[in-house]
Symmetry: C2
Subunit: 450 residues, 2 copies
């Protein structure tokens, strides 16, 4: 038909994005790595619906998440919303199923969430969260394992210069209790949070002004933030600071136990450090808290954070469900990996490319491809008998590593050429005997001995 | 607090469901298998937004999908909808990015879709699709590869008694062209579709009634449905039937080429059969079409279907984008695997369970766990020092395979006990020398030589 029809403009909504292969492949790999590490500690996968009754989602979040929630009336006139995190659905899920699941319950949940945020801040309205939690135990073993999972995860992703920073909310609570500042803890923490930005003097002034602290009290709180040194030195200083507060002593005791255990499990001290300056989610966390920073890019903030909470699902059940968990910041990590050159620019998951010369050789191409797939390679056969140069340009643009060039002459001799697409080097390989020589040649190019 | 607060009832929306670990683990495994096979043929992953402008989604689907679509006004007063399949988003995606992507473009897309369907039919309103497509080439190589992917996928999932049934829309179109019945093809096909149910005589009558076919024409069409035998016999019969119709001859030629090539690639004839009775998506497919049936459970219908189309994205671009693809029916396959006893009843991804005796041995438990994880096992350490019987009951209920029992006495001798949780058999293993003996003992239980 030559009549011009009116086209619909192909476009995505503001704050949403397509993932093309070059972006999707590292995402998939990162998710697979997280899954593998979570599973290696016995965390099991779950999933929950994207849509929930609005009342389930509304109560638990902040005013901000309530406002940002995608909410509408469904076909049955129900008031529904799209999940904005994985914590609220976990709470609902646990309240509903914990009898069947039993405790301790260790789960991971890797799924998309939605927030109608202001995109001016460079945020997306659709993003993925990657959480793991241990529910139904107060044992410090769960805290220790959470630290180990974060540690193993960062290593498995390919980082080594990172630090898991650990603190315990009870240390600060104990100190405030000792100083009789518990009732003003929100104001104290708000002031303390500004330390790096405005300095000790101004923070002390703010504490006196907004929290009604005395100069002496403010100085005591600021002492906490000055604590540094080796793990042993920090623990000793904390011992002195919280002495007399049951809560504070318990917090320091847990930090001592956690650092000793991770050291015993082989985590070097520089990768797991006590940092009394981290506070996180004031209303939610009650014990151990974690943040994780990249040595090469500390400025992007924590890439894996979490902590212990007393009661996960109190909105939905009277059963007390203590737990601990953390969340991997997928998008932030991917941005960091990109910036650090840790992401290969490829648009194909296949390493091996087979150009297509003529139709009569198709059975051979298919046989070579099948043999190589059985040997564990990902193989693409070009579908059209275009000029070799054109086919190789396609292969190069996608990021294939090796081309198996097999024209009539080569096939007649039961041979092919193995072309390293990076160096351009070409060698000949026999196809006889299960193509062992070809497989060895490809392996040589893909995994060269250093 | 002892005051009773009002709880929110923890529940999911009608037509939605939670995936608990026992259901989620086989799902994840199936998805991983699909991903692995797709990648082995050079298909790359993509993702698209859950929410699209309603105008993008509305035009392409049927009246039914339009009506079932979750549609609402977003925070910016935009008319938006949740995707109800992955084909419409692919068309929009291809129209938008094909210049950057280049052709041929091979993608897989494994993602959730939503339809506000009538749940009385046992359908869910949220489910996952698992599609792969090759876009931008008319080459028969893409058809052949699609057949091979389906074949490899079914084998990789663990089926061998399956049949990929293949047909070509041009065969039937050619026959109708030859019989001058093209204009009534919809009515002809509708009648033909009832063959198994109402028999040849009534079908012939219906063709004459609704499609204005003569008795002779109806008999000719019915001849097609009678064709059977070996691949060669079917192809010869088809040759005779469509002789003189260019379109029909082309269709038979493609079937001949496809079956010859898959045979050359090692696919046994019983696993890929021509079946002239399959028709699929009358308005959409234009060439090769596929359906896949399980030998043990043919009644559940096709578990992997697809075909070739002439023009994917004509709603959004004037660029012609021919392609071919198929979709794995995840939920149907999982139901079949469940029914055939192919799914293990477990709720943990870990094989190895370490009971916890006392706190002073915690460093050793952590070391054993770390050593076993480094050896590739998934290991869970119980977090509380409960009675051994209680811990083993927990391990048994979750489906762990092996327990590593290490009390004070064993650890003092640098030993542990390896308990096969299925048989109850227990052996002793040394922890010395990187715990080689322990690793061998566990491997023995997990992968016994038959």
């Amino acid at each position: 038909m030559s009549s011009k029809k009116k086209l619909i403009q192909p476009r995505t909504l503001k704050g949403f994005r397509d993932y093309l292969p070059d972006v999707m492949m590292p995402r998939e790999e990162l998710i697979n790595t997280a899954r593998r590490v979570y599973r290696s500690y016995g965390f099991a996968p779950i999933d929950t619906p994207t849509l929930e009754y609005a009342e389930i989602l509304l109560g638990k979040g902040s005013d901000e998440t309530d406002r940002q929630m995608y909410r509408f009336e469904d076909h049955g006139k129900r008031d529904v919303g799209m999940r904005f995190d994985l914590t609220v659905p976990l709470a609902r899920f646990a309240a509903q199923h914990i009898g069947e699941l039993g405790t301790p319950f260790k789960r991971y949940h890797i799924a998309t969430v939605w927030r109608g945020e202001n995109t001016q801040r460079g945020r997306y309205r659709e993003f993925m969260q990657c959480d793991f939690d241990t529910i139904g135990t107060k044992s410090i073993v769960a805290d220790i394992e959470t630290a180990l999972v974060i540690h193993d995860l960062m290593l498995a992703i390919g980082f080594d210069g990172f630090t898991v920073r650990v603190n315990n909310r009870q240390v600060l609570s104990g100190l405030l209790e000792k100083l009789q500042l518990v009732e003003n803890s929100t104001e104290i923490l708000r002031a303390l949070d500004k330390l790096a930005k405005i300095g000790a003097e101004k923070v002390a002034a703010e504490m006196q002004e907004t929290a009604g602290a005395s100069a002496e009290q403010a100085a005591q709180v600021l002492k906490l933030a000055e604590i540094g040194g080796s793990t042993d030195e920090i623990l000793s200083a904390l011992d002195r600071l919280v002495a007399g507060s049951e809560q504070g002593e318990m917090g320091v005791g847990q930090l001592r136990e956690l650092t000793a255990a991770t050291a015993a499990a082989g985590v070097p001290a520089e990768r797991l450090q006590i940092d009394v300056s981290i506070a996180r989610g004031l209303d939610y966390y009650t014990g151990t808290i974690f943040e994780t920073f990249l040595g090469e890019l500390p400025g992007i903030g924590s890439v894996c954070s979490g902590g212990r909470y007393n009661d996960l699902a109190s909105l939905y059940t009277n059963q007390e469900l203590p737990g601990i968990g953390a969340s991997l910041g997928l998008d932030r990590l991917l941005a960091a990996m990109e910036e650090l050159g840790k992401i290969e620019a490829r648009t194909t998951p296949a390493e091996v490319f087979i150009p297509y010369f003529d139709q009569t050789s198709l059975p051979q191409y298919l046989q070579i491809a099948a043999t190589l797939r059985a040997a564990g390679f990902n193989v693409e056969l070009y579908p059209d008998a275009k000029k070799l140069g054109q086919q190789l340009k396609y292969a190069d643009r996608r990021g294939f590593k090796v081309a198996i060039v097999a024209g009539d002459r080569e096939l007649a001799e039961n041979k092919c050429q193995v072309k390293d697409l990076k160096t351009g080097d070409t060698t000949e390989a026999s196809l006889a005997g299960g193509a062992k020589e070809l497989i060895a040649g490809i392996s040589q190019i893909l995994r060269p001995t250093a």
